[in-house]
Symmetry: C2
Subunit: 169 residues, 2 copies
């Protein structure tokens, strides 16, 4: 069998590797959400969480809080608005700013996720991270292996009731 060259290269290819694991985790998280009937790209959740925590925020503030660049925030906010989860309004005091707020639908979504899904996801990821030892590279390798062996949704399901679809109110 061929080697995993990215892993072999150690620190040299750490960037590629972190990115790869991150993408895998995002996909896993999205899968869990979907199993609950919530169908939204994984990267949208930090926006909803930030608005839930902080109330109305401008585009730039959201980018800051979430740690991405402003154009990325602009796009995601646009998609969330199109999906009806947030509202975008021009600030009254400064016509350049856009105030972003959760709609009622968005608030309901966050409430549901906060109550029923996110704690389980957090627990599943924490489960995967417990017992890790050694250097950062060692721990990362353990996570890669652990995630391949037991995907997040498996860890999630083993700790939770089988999900009940939120759409069937």
């Amino acid at each position: 069998m061929l080697h995993d060259i990215v892993r072999d290269f150690g620190h040299l290819t750490l960037g590629t590797r972190l990115r790869r694991v991150g993408e895998m985790l995002q996909a896993n998280t999205q899968q869990i959400m979907q199993a609950h009937g919530v169908d939204l790209p994984a990267a949208h959740y930090p926006f909803l969480a930030a608005l839930d925590r902080n109330g109305a925020l401008s585009v730039g503030e959201l980018a800051d809080v979430i740690g991405i660049t402003q154009p990325g925030a602009t796009r995601t906010i646009g998609q969330l608005a199109e999906a009806g989860f947030v509202e975008i309004a021009a600030s009254e005091t400064d016509q350049r700013r856009k105030q972003v707020t959760l709609t009622e639908s968005g608030e309901k979504l966050v409430a549901f996720a906060k109550e029923n899904i996110w704690p389980g996801v957090e627990a599943a990821v924490r489960d995967m991270c417990t017992g890790l030892e050694g250097s950062f590279l060692d721990q990362l390798a353990a996570i890669e292996d652990g995630l391949k062996k037991h995907p997040l949704i498996e860890r999630y399901n083993s700790k939770n009731e089988p999900p009940s679809d939120r759409k069937q109110t």
Copy 2:
């Protein structure tokens, strides 16, 4: 000041966070290469390294070795071929397979990087990872902070001669 919500959320947003750090590292690495006159997207280097190590490989083998999906490999290989660093030839025994090999230009590039750049990059990343302690999340936070404070190229330059442009042979 507003919080970094992705970090606050702990394990819940680990995916987004890993991805973010990975992208930063890739960008840093690319920057160092560029300072040496080598202008190639960061994700292309694992391909060159794999071909250098293993000799000719098929598209699927490259995807395996590097740990990405086959369509991703197909695209990157196409770009490398266009840049003249690899050659794509149909296998003689199996018309479905494409054998990918380094061109002379590709071999020179790898030789130069292996000799003059990659060791320094590896050392810079290792430098950033030394002395890390605590949980995976703690170490990740330390890396985020360390990278923001001292980008890779700074660590690299402090340990190496100022780069000499390889093009001016």
